[in-house]
Amino acid sequence: MGKTIAEKILSLASGKDVCAGDIVVARVNAAMAHDGTALLAIESFREMNGQSLWDPSRVFLVIDHVAPSATESFSRVHKVMREFARMHGANLYEAGSGICHQLMVESGLIYPSALAVGADSHTCTYGALGAFATGIGSTEMAAVFMSGKLWFKVPETLKVEVDGALPPMVLPKDVILKIIGLVGADGATYKAVEFCGSTVKSMSVDGRLTLCNMAVEMGAKTGIIETDEKTMNYLGGLGVKEGLRLRSDEDADFSSKIFFDVSNLEPQVSCPHNVDNVRSVKEVEGVEVNQVFLGSCTNGRLEDLRVAAEILKGKTIRRGVRMIVAPASRSIYLQALKEGLIEIFVEAGCIVCNPGCGPCAGAHQGILAPGEVCLSTSNRNFKGRMGSPDAEIYLASPATAAVSALEGRITDPRVLLKR
């Protein structure tokens, strides 16, 4: 019997020949915690009498969720993180560096065949680079800090084959929202989701990161994509030379396979208050929006900013609407500046925030009032996530977000094709 990519990586990392269902202890290549999860990890590390990090060069602490700090209590959290990083020699990404997942991707420690853990559920993003990456809790992160090892249940793999050319104004975000709608919020629980097919092959790495990022919204342990020349070129640009190019064997045992064709896919939107409540944008067109957010670990990359800027260029967002833009990392921010994208956003009336999580997690930079509606390019629309539990969050692509900010209501971006 052949093996899936997930089985191969966990075999390598555990030094055993394993298959789905086995429980293994495996060595990780990188471990990350951010300001929403690091404090508990540091406290547990101390309570477990942790003396030193297993390998400080592989430990990353990122200040991104409340960055810069909005409250004194979080200023203290950041201070603890800085002191811990200094004392133990770990990598610290200061406020303003960007979102943990984008920074991990840019760190050079994420490469094909790597095993990475993060104290954040969207750690599954890194599978776009052929790595096995998954979210864990703070206390077990403390154990990883000490030992570099963790137990894993080797997941079954759900294969999602996506074929066809994406129609104009239909983006990777629409693809993943459609898939989540089909699979459901718990349809891939404990599984790896392997994305393949011609659509994925022709997708940029930015787009693939968007797909894998939202795998957890179907309950998945990780998203994963077979490494190809695009992956290698992307990593080459980051100076990364490591990694084994792995692919699932022809006779690998997939738990199930889903095929779908995107040739006629329409822009999608996830409606309140669950991510799998997915419809076409057309079905909810006209819903008035108060806030639009472009950013997050799902859609804060250069390609996303370019799509939105192209739509906003020379125009002004609707009066009464606020549009918040937060690039996913400092390097993306700099490149967006060079390309004139930031100027377009500012001229259009957007609020451009520092690189970081922005308002996605409900901490700052755009908290919603009761009764308000937000259209966001992020990954969760749970009740109360971005502020009041009486606010509503819709999730959509950067194109849908930009055009909806111009119109002041949820709008199908294909309207621009007709003009």
């Binding site: 909005a70 979080f74 203290r76 154990a143 963790l150 137990w151 629980t189």
Partner: protein
Amino acid sequence: MSAKIVGRVWRLGDNINTDLIIAGKYKLSITDINELSKHAMEALIPNFAEKVKRGDLIVTGKNFGCGSSREQAPLVLKYLGVGAVIAESFARIFYRNAINIGLPVVECKEVSRIMDGDMLEVNLMEGYIKNLTRSEIYSIKPIPPALLEILAEGGLVNYVRKHGRLPW
């Protein structure tokens, strides 16, 4: 963790996410567990923190704890004295976190028979739930022995403090 957990049921539905258990706006502004736990479940059950009694059980449907990796979600429930969470299924990070902080989590396919206010006796070692209100017995999915060992010590930190090593 005692062998038998007896308590009154709070019955909830499917897909209860971590923002409903403890919203990000609180997790990202309050670090004190006592203060934080006052907001547990508030969008679902107003004043849950005041109403819940030590030993009470949460019984819920599919995918409990989906969403973020925040360990504060099981922590606030444990802090408020919730004796166990019984679900048809759990989101994986919540499940791991609950074991690691010593909150019993029990998978049971027969949760639809359990109603709000029922009194249950949960026996993790022998692997059953007794519904004292309805005189029924349900089977539960066994917790893997390695995890049961962590749970029995009250979580990973206590395990390491007692044994002087990690369980793996």
